[in-house]
């Protein structure tokens, strides 16, 4: 189940954080499951670092199926 970051809040402990998140972030039926994490436990990459972090993947085109030329006569591939 994929979870999307929706925001932050203050709470005394994890159980209250879930309850508060339910109250603050799901008044319009936005989801079926909530994760809460103390902000000190999060390590985030910076959007500025996007290029050095992800560029190596962009130029490895051979990871994509369309890179390969398989004749149309060959089926099931």
């Amino acid at each position: 189940m994929s979870h999307k970051h929706v925001g932050s809040l203050h709470a005394a402990d994890a159980e209250m954080a879930i309850k508060n998140a339910r109250d603050v972030y799901t008044r319009r039926s936005e989801g079926i499951s909530i994760w809460v994490v103390p902000s000190e436990e999060i390590t985030a990459s910076s959007p500025d670092e996007k290029d050095p972090l992800f560029t190596p993947s962009d130029d490895k085109v051979y990871r994509h199926p369309t890179f390969y030329d398989i004749p149309d006569d060959v089926e099931n591939m």
């Binding site: 925001g7 932050s8 809040l9 203050h10 709470a11 005394a12 402990d13 209250m16 109250d23 603050v24 972030y25 008044r27 319009r28 910076s46 959007p47 500025d48």
Partner: protein, 318 residues
């Protein structure tokens, strides 16, 4: 032969290109400070704004009306919380913002310093006050600071029911008995001008606006937003057969906009200064709730600590 580009110039170019400023980005100290002020005051407005409306929850005329009003007030609480979170990304702790509100150092929207003596006000507020807020908040979905803009998107989605809720209440009254229609008109008479004041001083009397527009915090001027609001709202009042209390209100064919009368700026500045009808009451109520609720915060923290201590004792004993 390079030219030295200052951090400020780089920042300005970044903002000019319609990029979003995020919490970890370098920003001028003034940009940070003005946003902390603006976002926290926006948050305070939402929380204080709960009070004039909560006034009628126990006396709503039907169960349906009560449920809807409760939901609206609950939304305002949520909006305040989103905005406190957005302001915290700029490095200001929530406790300080709340202390500043309670001491009178921080401001909030002047509109919430007016009382709500009639049920019709529950309609008029949703229609005009939320209407004006929507005008401003839609503009702010394009503000340069990322967390603020994203909070605005979420808030705008939720705000649209607020205005419709309000208009529905006014409509029921305006299309009801003569007494009900009179109640709606009386309410409109009191809320029209304060709603126009929500957009702030006129452009030539707004010294902060220029820098705010330059940094794309503000995307449209006070007078532009105010004019848009008037143009949208006049037909809505006409549809209900209600009269806007402005003898100078008139469609101007040449401009393609409504001309309207001069705002009483003396009243505006008095209310901002703290001399509005309900300023003291609003803050006193906030302080009282905060103080009377302290035991809940203390208990929650004590319980959390006890559970954490218990868990670490079990872990070391095992």
């Amino acid at each position: 032969m390079g030219t030295k580009v200052s951090l400020e110039d780089k920042f300005q170019a970044y903002v000019d290109a319609e990029n979003r400023v995020e919490p970890k980005d370098w920003m001028p100290e003034k940009y940070r400070k003005t946003l902390i002020r603006q976002i926290s005051q926006h948050a305070h407005s939402e929380i204080i704004g709960m009070q004039p409306e909560a006034n009628w929850i126990t006396r709503a005329p039907s169960l349906r009306a009560k449920l809807i009003l409760l939901a609206k007030v609950q939304d305002e609480a949520g909006h305040g919380l989103y905005l406190y979170s957005a302001a915290e990304t700029l490095g200001e702790p929530r406790e300080k913002m709340i202390a500043d509100l309670q001491s009178g150092k921080a401001k909030y929207s002047s509109i919430f310093n007016y009382p709500t003596p009639s049920w019709a006000d529950m309609g008029t507020i949703g229609w005009l006050v939320d209407g004006a807020a929507i005008q401003n908040q839609v503009m702010l979905t394009r503000t340069s600071y990322g967390p603020y803009a994203r909070a605005m998107v979420k808030i705008c989605k939720e705000e649209s029911f607020h205005q419709r809720q309000g208009y529905e209440v006014v409509m029921k009254l305006a299309q009801g008995t003569p007494e009900q229609k009179a109640m709606a008109q009386e309410s409109l008479n009191r809320w029209w001008w304060p709603s126009l004041m929500m957009f702030g001083p006129s452009d030539d009397n707004s010294p902060n606006s220029e820098q705010s527009m330059k940094w794309k915090i503000k995307r449209k001027s006070n007078d532009t937003l105010r004019q848009e609001f008037v143009d949208k709202t006049v037909p809505q009042a006409e549809y209900l057969g209600l009269t806007i209390p402005d003898a100078d209100l008139k469609w101007n064919e040449e401009r393609g906009h409504y001309d309207f009368g001069e705002i009483n700026w003396a009243e505006f500045y008095e209310v901002i200064k703290g001399n509005g009808p309900c300023n003291k009451e609003r803050i006193a109520h906030h302080v009282k709730a905060h103080e009377e609720g302290a035991w809940v915060r203390e208990a929650a923290n004590a319980y959390a600590k006890k559970q954490a201590d218990r868990a670490s004792n079990d872990a070391s004993a095992a």
